[in-house]
Amino acid sequence: MTPKTILIGLDGATFTVLDPLMAGGVMPHLRDLVADGVRATLRSVVPPLTPPAWTSLMTGKRPGEHGVFDFFQKETPDSRYFRFTSSHDVQSATIWSIAGDCGLRSNVLNFPLMFPPPALVGCLVPGGWMPWRQLRLGCRPAGLFDRLKELPSFNPRELSHDMALEEKVLEGCAAEEYLDWITLHTRRERRWTEVFLYLMREEPADFGAILFDGVDKLQHLCWRFLDPALAPKDPTPWERDVRAACLNYFRELDGLIAEIVAAAGPDATVLFASDHGFGPTSDIVYLNTWLERRGLLAWAGDRGARPDATHQVGINQIARHVFEMDWDRTLAYAATPSSQGIHIVRRAPGGSGGVADEDYHRFRDELAAGLMGLRHPETGRPVVAEVWPRDEVFAGPFEPWGPDLTVRLEGDAVVSILRADAVVGRRPEPAGTHRPEGIFLAKGPGVRRGEAVAEMSLLDVAPFVLHSLGLPIPDDVSGRLPVQTLEPGWAPPRLAEPVEAASRPLVGASVAADPIGAGVALDAEEERLVLKRLSALGYLE
């Protein structure tokens, strides 16, 4: 069996970086694929962030419809405590579960939110925050991990998550560590490709999907070495070496892509997608400091982590707000920088703190107006470009789990949740951060050739994949088939007839009748214990 469709995920890929690399000969295979296929800007979801965005790609739905908003999920809609997002939070059918329902096999490698492993017809090696020590627990079917261990180059430590290494992405890494760190990611992509090619040979599937996440990591840490607009005119030897290592990463990645495409054969549809794009960032907006100055947030005593030299908050510190804030005097707070969201503290029945139900909309509207009125201290220009209430941006059954307000900042600014001396700060060197404009590339039967077409939504990727496999597109999917990418009138042989979402048996996705935790109301003691748990895990200090 040769695959019908191959999805190659390039986490965070942007044409800003890829176009010069293709034009400059660093990625000749990708350049040729583009010439033989179609390309489009792929607009991500709100927020343009790995967990919600890849889940939107897998499901064709928005976060309010699939249930994933961030790396962390609220314990309950009104809880101030957060836990790691897991596969149980993906409350929708996925492209691989739909394929399985229709009798097709899928091999899925390195995608996030795949632990605990969902049922899958085919092979699964999970990605995301799957620690390398327990990678075998996430591999399916049973016995797959032991078979992979027999591969000469198999090395789970390099393949999967290592907390100490991941923190360098956000917390920065010493100059002397850059080259080793970049080289590790170059090797890691090779490791994933070897597993993918092995499965293509030994466990042939109709649909194969592999995610290369080093693109995102390199761009976070090394943006100034990748963005042609930021290239130093007179680079130091170290800057030259880092730039060369980055280019080598993309050169190697291009070679790996060529191997996968060759193995897939000429009749396969091959598509590339990123969950979001990337761009430079220099300004930092300290949302919790802004809230503090408006009297809406109070720190507990001297608490409140202040920015260090990198101006970033790392994974281990992300949930520390629970310890940092005086909850009797806090009405609104930003929980994580990644979500770009502000949560409003709701008054508990019989309680005195928080915002009462009857005041909620007025409070939220005033908060949104205040954000829109925030001005940059140097330029006087607006800092916030847009503010969305959650019923607008997260409409769907999981809306209550989203932040009450979500912001999009102007220019190149990013959100920080740290306590600072000023609302707006500036980092010493530009770094990389997420942008909504990702990439879509495809080639194969029925796909237009050599064309750049109109922008697509990330939600449209799932319909494209299902269509390429000859599968029906469920009627509850919010994306649409991107007809601008296809030859007019072309359609693959139908493998199954459309069925209504409500009647479709779901093999792969665990869909609960209610959102996870919907029936769970944590009392004060339980919330205290959750807090303690987070502390024990090192997420709080």
Binding site: F84, S86, F115, P116, W129, M130, P131, R133, Q134, L135, R136, L137, F145, K149, P156, H161, M163, A164, N316, E526, R528, L529, V530, K532, R533, S535, A536, L537, G538, Y539
Partner: protein, 101 residues
Amino acid sequence: MPLTHKQILDAVLELMTELSGDWEYSGAITAETRLLGDLAMDSLDLVILGGELQERYGQLPFSEFLAELGKQEAEARDVTIGELVDLISRQQRATAPGGVA
């Protein structure tokens, strides 16, 4: 019918032995083996291991368990495999028909 303490211990020891075979750990895995001090697991490992055990044994009071762990001094903060098994066994008895914690 809840599993016996010995059945759970044997199964968890088998799991941890299998996992540690993938690491640079060559010591014996026993009920006294410490997850942090001996096996060098980190906080994310504990989250994932907790998820796996709950997949196998049903909902566990993992939050409370880790909360107790968090109360300990940093140098003494650790958990043995035997303590994890005790937790599972207690919960199995508590959730069995007519069971008490």
